[in-house]
Symmetry: C2
Subunit: 308 residues, 2 copies
């Protein structure tokens, strides 16, 4: 089921965006294949594990977003693609580690066994560790970009991935929250860090490669933060409304794990309202940017109306 | 006990090197304290875990080595210190993850409970993940260095830390080797990657910050690779000859784990000979460099004669 009734104009735009996302995904997968060690090279098991998790049918949302933003600012795909892949590598490393028995203990991801189930825990830990390093290496060695740009990108990616302002902080807060009741502000803070930071980072990096000025960078940061929130609210809604076939994982898992979610705190209707508000705030931020932002509008629509 | 009788001249030099290492250690710990998130900031547990492992009384060998090499090439301490700390952060993250139950399953490190024992497994995984990111961030944000230098350093650190040419590859090969018999060449390859890569990386980064030319960089790379080998052989020898008080961990653990070591493959006497040969080869490499290399000679002596 869809989260909201989809207007006709959005239906048409979604079709166009689907093609664009498919094209991005194809480009990203070619580049990831080039960047990652071949699975036949020693140590084989860890290289196979890296590829098992990276090529698991992900939507490549973060790289697509980075490519779209960068292109809106006039950057070329070949200037953007490595950094786009670096974000996907960081995202994938986080999924591998989050799925470990000591963390979320997930056996299934995108309809396939998780890395530690398919291989073993030690290999999954190392595959995640290696992917993180390879992400930074990919940007450092991208000689299509000026050194000063690469440094800015690495700094953005690192802040988005670590603690106290990024993904690891969000994951740590999320684990702490499992033991107790959280309120709305705490839930938003968890998601701002756990999911939002990397989305904002991808948006900012696309704009940086496109030489956005300070005012534009501020506007895309607002866009990214509302988009990240929208992404998380719709994720929570899908967890209780979608089918396993839609999701490629067990729905209802958050409820089962007694994790705080938007629907559990606010109910489904109010969560939908919050999604619509986040959508509107993201679109408003785009009004501050005098660039072709059609695709960026469609991405927010896509997330609001997504079904998986 | 010592591995070899220590000549009088070496005794005097060792005393001087001890002071120098203590001074390096103090500098590195001040900078690490500045670089790491405060333990009182949220999420507190993961920040406490990071500090528990980073400030665990390590010898700070890799940073000391980087500082010594950099100074031999005329670099200032304030240009070197961040990168030195980045190597220590990568080293510490690898110890935290290696100690996990799914990896080496160690309860004790430097005489204290390991990170996952003191905190919990999930926190230890996240602390290691965060430390890796923070290492790259520390170099990226070091505005005392040119952007091109920072990029070269990040690239070196990433290659040394990941796979197929670095630490993660070595750890993966080491795990694969536990299940079967390895020969001398395979053992050397495991250690070249698992321990040697980060030591070579530290040496090269010190030289890069000191603007070493290509010939000098090649010579210090040879120095670093023999030093790394020497470090590992003496580590293996200490594991069977030293006391727990010397090591701060359980001696004989490698034998117990049936891990291949130099003594298990070659016996103690031949292992000592290999150590002496590695020492000589490292010193020979220094002859190619027309810089003040006294301290670099003493560091090789220090490792040959180390007792812990």
């Amino acid at each position: 089921m869809t989260l909201n009734a989809k207007p006709d104009a959005v239906v048409q735009n979604t079709l166009e965006l689907d093609s664009l996302l498919a094209a991005s995904r194809a480009l990203v997968e070619v580049e990831l294949n080039n960047l990652l060690p071949p699975s036949g090279a020693a140590p084989e098991k860890v290289h196979q594990a890296i590829r098992w998790s990276v090529f698991a049918g992900g939507k490549r949302f973060r790289p697509a977003l980075l490519l779209a933003i960068g292109q809106a600012f006039g950057a070329q795909i070949n200037e953007l693609i490595r950094t786009a892949c670096a974000f996907e590598m960081i995202h994938t490393y986080s999924l591998i580690h989050d799925d470990l028995p000591a963390m979320d203990d997930d056996d299934l991801r995108r309809g396939r066994p998780t890395c530690h189930v398919r291989f073993d825990e030690a290999t999954a830990i190392l595959a995640g560790d290696a992917l993180q390093t390879l992400a930074f290496h990919a940007i450092a060695d991208d000689d299509r970009l000026e050194a000063t740009t690469r440094i800015a990108l690495i700094s953005e990616l690192a802040r988005a991935a670590a603690t106290p302002d990024g993904m690891v902080a969000g994951q740590a807060l999320d684990m702490e929250a499992e033991a107790r009741q959280v309120n709305g502000a705490q839930l938003e803070e968890i998601h701002r860090l756990k999911t939002g930071a990397l989305i904002v980072g991808a948006v900012r990096c696309g704009a940086i490669i496109g030489h956005a000025d300070e005012k534009e960078l501020a506007a895309v940061t607002v866009y990214g933060s509302h988009l990240g929130l929208l992404f998380q609210i719709t994720d929570d809604l899908l967890d209780i409304t979608a089918t396993a076939a839609d999701l490629g994982k067990t729905p209802g898992k958050d409820v089962h794990a007694r994790k705080a979610t938007y629907p559990s705190l606010y109910g489904i209707e109010e969560s939908r309202e919050k999604a619509v508000n986040a959508h509107r705030a993201a679109c408003d931020a785009l009004e501050q940017i005098d660039r072709p932002t059609d695709v960026l509008h469609r991405i927010v629509d896509f997330i609001l109306y997504r079904t998986g």
